[in-house]
Subunit: 145 residues, 6 copies
């Protein structure tokens, strides 16, 4: 684990820490493009579109380019596997999520030709649709872009 | 997300941060039982047994009690879903992992009857069995114990 | 298979047998808490909530305790894997279920510290949404509680 | 659930009951072809081949006919979904099974053209590779033959 | 791969080729029963029912026979695994499909007792619900009937 | 489906057709880079490495670049979903494959910035480890590179 730049760690720390805690890592956060947001839903579709919309609005990816949309989309799906852990479903399983997300775009490898990669991180809660009947969940997806 | 004690966040920070960075969160780490270790393998079986062995040796769970083994086991499996993202396989998919893990046992809820829960976190790399052809991976599993 | 008390077998027999056949096993049924019900739906969400509602109304688990809800929830999910066999979907796959369910809470192990466990069993039919175009299905999930 | 002949229920009862308990249902067992056996393993491959070998030896299916082998094979796979509940793995997940199986071939539907169907049922234990650290598991698969 | 009659290849060629290209294989297409159609949707349910309806209307399977419906249904599901590649979802994953399908019924094996089999093939595009942000997808399912 | 260049269709035709049939599409095959090969195995690992080795030897991707390896790897995995249809396993499920594969690299979209994409196609048989007890299987995976 001697990556040049750990975009996954940066995204995960950014999404998991509060304002004050983030100050410890401000130098790391400044080396990359970061886009963040939050979403609460019983539909995975809404979670995906919240991230896509935030990333496109921030200008981090080119909206009309399928290539970049495709890279982001698969990174989101992989991150959601960590959140859902085994079944691609929320409301259909009587569960809901309250998530924050952070997306980081950067060059994690020393070799210049490795180019840019994208990391999507989620952190929040998953549980029954009753306040408090929930526990934490995390997910991280990484793709070349 | 106003849990009393976020055992998932604590486990993830512990596994993801280096020695120096951990000092920022030392007070949080002191409020819970933590067990850590690392494992590199092309077999999920070895990843599971490394965590189980470390946890049992540390005395965090009672080795002979199926109840506690069962709780830990399912938390490990859920954490590995985030690492493997969709298919339960490493070598069979021509991929290998280099992971650190942290296991936290504590009482995340204010209500005393909610009792103890266990959080298992992984952080490291997953990729081709060739040094450098890999990217980061994270996983978190939580269960009542 | 020399468990002290086979809560899985008891739940499965209870859900699969008719009134008359149950009399053969009445002594076994009397040693544990049993809750039963039935549900027909094209939505897994309704199957889950039917079981949860029946169990909570019967007082078998403490409704406000996340710990017990969490244990029951995962036992239901595991039982539904046997019913759905591979894909977490009913209506989205053009299929429907007509199921009876039985939930048993008891102490299956001789060792007192193993404490209480919960077994959820389903039996009924799965098939096309046309009467008769269906076959039998069974599922059993077990968890510590 | 007004099937003419419930081959799934018959297979499940046969596999789950002991000698004495089976006598309650002897008339049902006599109306169909039944083949039984048992297998303990950390490899799903061995579980599948144990059933296939037992069924072929009993003459219940025609060994050289791919059509019948294909029908049996998919019924076995579906039954194992109930046993494994979510991941197609035993040893790779540090778990082992001790199972009995029963295979029933018969005509479950009143309509003569519906022809013959096959039901495969498993009952036993699944758990850590340490005696006693295990709980019950059930699986049922049904296919046209 | 020396099957007597490759119903999978025939179905895939039929669904993938345009009118003019099909003429190269007209002799192969004439040896089997073929049913075709197309469907665009964000719901897998609609994809399944489009195929079922087309096949039933064409008279290729007997509508009221569960046996034949069951064989076709599982062939459709297997073909959709190739289209969806890992998750049983379309709209829930913010993706949509535009597919053509071809269903072939025939006797692929030399041995007369192997009887009839059915092949379902899909070809088209899968992608974001925005015109052009999509790539090709293929799926093939085969079952005995 | 008005893609500029259908790399998925080209790869699938190339892998599925024999020498003579390929002549009908020779003009399409000449517009892209194609790499082909074949593999028979009970291990998915060997299927993956056969494709990777063939592609690297042909010079179609840069062996030392993780970016290109990562793109190819995920295209192979997606193609294998169509072959395996639901479970990531061959020998563990008592089944074996005999496959041909074709990999195509090209620019499927009119927009120059969409750049290069890769398509991996498999065609062959899957079945019991007994000659003849098998049926056809197809898989196609596509990724940006």
């Amino acid at each position: 684990m001697n990556n040049h730049l750990r975009i996954g760690k940066i995204a995960t720390l950014h999404v998991m820490l509060d304002e004050e805690e983030r100050t410890y890592f401000s130098s790391a956060f400044e080396t990359v493009q970061i886009c963040e947001g939050k979403v609460g839903s019983m539909e995975l579709q809404k979670v995906i579109s919240s991230v896509e919309t935030a990333v496109k609005r921030s200008g981090m990816i080119e909206e009309k380019l399928y290539r970049e949309t495709h890279a982001l989309y698969h990174a989101i799906l992989e991150a959601l596997e960590g959140v859902t852990r085994g079944q691609w479903a929320l409301g259909e399983m009587m569960r809901t999520v309250g998530l924050r997300f952070a997306v980081v775009r950067g060059k994690p490898y020393e070799l210049e030709q490795e180019g840019e990669w994208i990391a999507v991180a989620f952190y929040g809660t998953i549980g029954a649709p009753i306040r408090g009947l929930e526990h934490e969940a995390i997910g991280l997806g990484i793709n070349h872009i």
